[in-house]
Symmetry: C2
Subunit: 378 residues, 2 copies
């Protein structure tokens, strides 16, 4: 039998909100139509209770597993974690992943044409929140016929969505698994995001967000990505990988060895990461999504943080990463301590925040045990 990764998985589209039934957003806007791009792996069982929702992070997409083309490099962003025989086993679970509201991978967002004038929304798109994303995800799981989700799982911004599921739709989800995330986005995280947005907005090619015909602000978006990359990794991982190596091993003359163009490997790596994002992502979308992260506050307009978290009665697996500087373990531990039925597990890794996309051995064990003990019991 072919495994998921040997099959090409199609990203599907479905309209979940329409003019007669618009999305009521936190900002007060009513948005329609709203189309969602999603993928599924495995089959929904007869009881409609074996579904798992996977939520992606800032620059992710619905393409979490399998191949999107016949290129073996087109595998999904969490392919090592999702599929037949893997942690989220597609023989057992019906795994769903959708591009969140405001994304640029098929779901309605700032790059989508505004039905009023046929032009991209751009900065006229209403600022979505994590809660708005979750409202759209709930509509999608309803459309797919899911009775109750076994779990909602995600890292970083994905974990913020998992937490909101626990507050907003506790009857529709048996457990949640927030990984390396926050109940309230920290000032440090907000600061980093704002600096990244400034990098984009400082680029003259950004043109106040109206660059759709002239090409996007490549230097600004690249710099935004590089700023973020610094916080996604640990200083130890950079040291192990790059040391103080230079790009060229030709040596340096007295005249050239100190020239800026004789980059260190770390500089070249960051610039390469910046370029890679420019080739696959949209600048205004980056602005919107990073702002949605900043606005994330599980207690906003709900009262006291401790009380809001204590009201989540479903089992929760909180996962921290020992070297994460963006969402440090002390935040993950505090979150776990404020939840009523929580399990805390910690990934030991040199890779910092990105470890949830790397350390599948540890993460898989934590998640499999938690699903077995809590989610699969019904």
């Amino acid at each position: 039998m072919a495994t998921i990764t040997e099959n090409i998985v199609e990203t599907k589209l479905v309209q979940v909100f329409s003019a007669s039934d618009p999305l009521h957003m936190d900002c007060g806007e009513r948005l329609s139509p709203v189309t969602v791009a999603y993928e599924t792996y495995g089959e929904l069982n007869a009881a409609a209770d074996n579904a798992i929702l996977v939520c992606h992070a800032l620059t992710g997409s619905a393409h979490a597993a399998g191949l999107s083309t016949d290129d073996p490099k087109s595998e999904g962003w969490w392919d090592s974690f999702i599929g037949e025989g893997k942690t989220l086993d597609a023989r057992k679970y019906f795994v769903i992943c959708s591009n969140f509201l405001g994304g640029c991978y098929g779901t309605t967002g700032s790059v989508t044409s505004d039905p009023k004038n046929g032009k991209p929304y751009g900065l006229r798109f209403p600022q979505m929140t994590v809660r708005d994303m979750v409202r759209v995800e709930k509509k999608l799981t309803d459309f797919l016929g899911v009775k109750q989700l076994r779990t909602v799982v995600g890292g970083s911004l994905g974990g913020m969505q998992a937490l909101e599921w626990g507050v907003m739709y506790p009857d529709s989800v048996r457990t949640i698994i927030p990984i390396a995330t926050a109940s309230q986005h920290s000032p440090w995280g907000i600061g980093l995001n704002d600096i990244a947005r400034q990098a984009i907005m400082n680029d003259p090619a950004w043109q106040e967000g109206d660059y759709y015909h002239s090409g996007q602000p490549e230097r600004g978006l690249s710099l935004a990505r590089q700023i973020a990359m610094i916080s996604y990794r640990s200083d130890a991982s950079f040291l192990d990988r790059f040391h103080r190596e230079r790009i060229s091993s030709n040596g340096y003359t007295a005249k050239t060895r100190f020239e800026v163009k004789n980059l260190f490997q770390i500089e070249s790596y960051l610039r390469y990461q910046g370029k890679k994002l420019v080739d696959r992502f949209d600048a205004n979308t980056y602005i919107y999504i990073s702002r949605a992260m900043d606005l994330h506050d599980i207690a906003y307009e709900r009262g006291d943080l401790a009380e809001v978290l204590a009201a989540i009665k479903i089992p929760t697996l909180c996962v921290g990463i020992n070297t994460d500087v963006l969402y440090p373990v002390h935040e993950q531990k505090r979150l776990a301590s404020q939840l009523v039925r929580s399990t805390y597990r910690e990934i030991n890794s040199p890779f910092g925040h990105d470890a949830f996309l790397i350390e599948y051995g540890q993460l898989g064990k934590f998640v499999r045990e938690f699903l077995r003990d809590y989610a699969d019991k019904g």
Copy 2:
């Protein structure tokens, strides 16, 4: 008797290299003239052996203590640490601080007029290294008649200079005190610096470094500073100070509460810090100095790092800061362990890397004890 901080301290200038005796730089260039801006506090004793050299960090100046004008806000950057009755007691020591080579506070650097054409050097200024800075500092202490320095002390880039003093002029310095620094600048630090430089160079006002008549790249330099600020503080200090507060306490309507202009306090703070630097610092200088930090490698062209450090035989006080993410304590401890006669002390502070400019109680105690036990003994 008036204390130093009640007196106005004058920054003096002295030419230390000339056409007939140029500075031989690491990059192979010969630079002349080289003028140094410096301040001194206290008096050199008859034995000429009570001097202490203070080295400043990236955006610092020679003005370390006292007032520069009759404005009480014009006090030096380490005024709480240097002066009569303070840790570096001006009644006992002859304290020297100079703007390093390549700075923009009086010492020859990229803003200086090139004698060849009378225009600012700009990007034609040769890339200096920390070793070049120390060569200039040595000339200055010779000029001032210092026989042997009691210590060379500095944090961050200042600590890099202290370490180089230990290697380059071991007979001219009794002890060194490198604080929150590195024996080799880390890839993480290089990455952050390169991103900051890109922020400057992406600004069209930078004009390939030739902005002297049109005004400097304010947005780029501001962004560079904000990127650095993120690494100078800890997430805990930002949380304690700013929480998730907004600038306006007027509340937000559904329409406006998610607008980018409704900034969080942390965003406003970072932008303010950026603006403050723009008003007092030069963009090309930022590029040069940050590159000098990246090039800092105590072992470069000297052999094995461990051997180079083990060859420093003078007593060294290494100071780490428990929340420093830029120069983490594990680096400070390793540095101390590689030195032959080292004392390691750790500042306990929520303020991250900047704690060496804040925690004078702890730092003062460590330094006073070390000076008493090692430097003052002769």
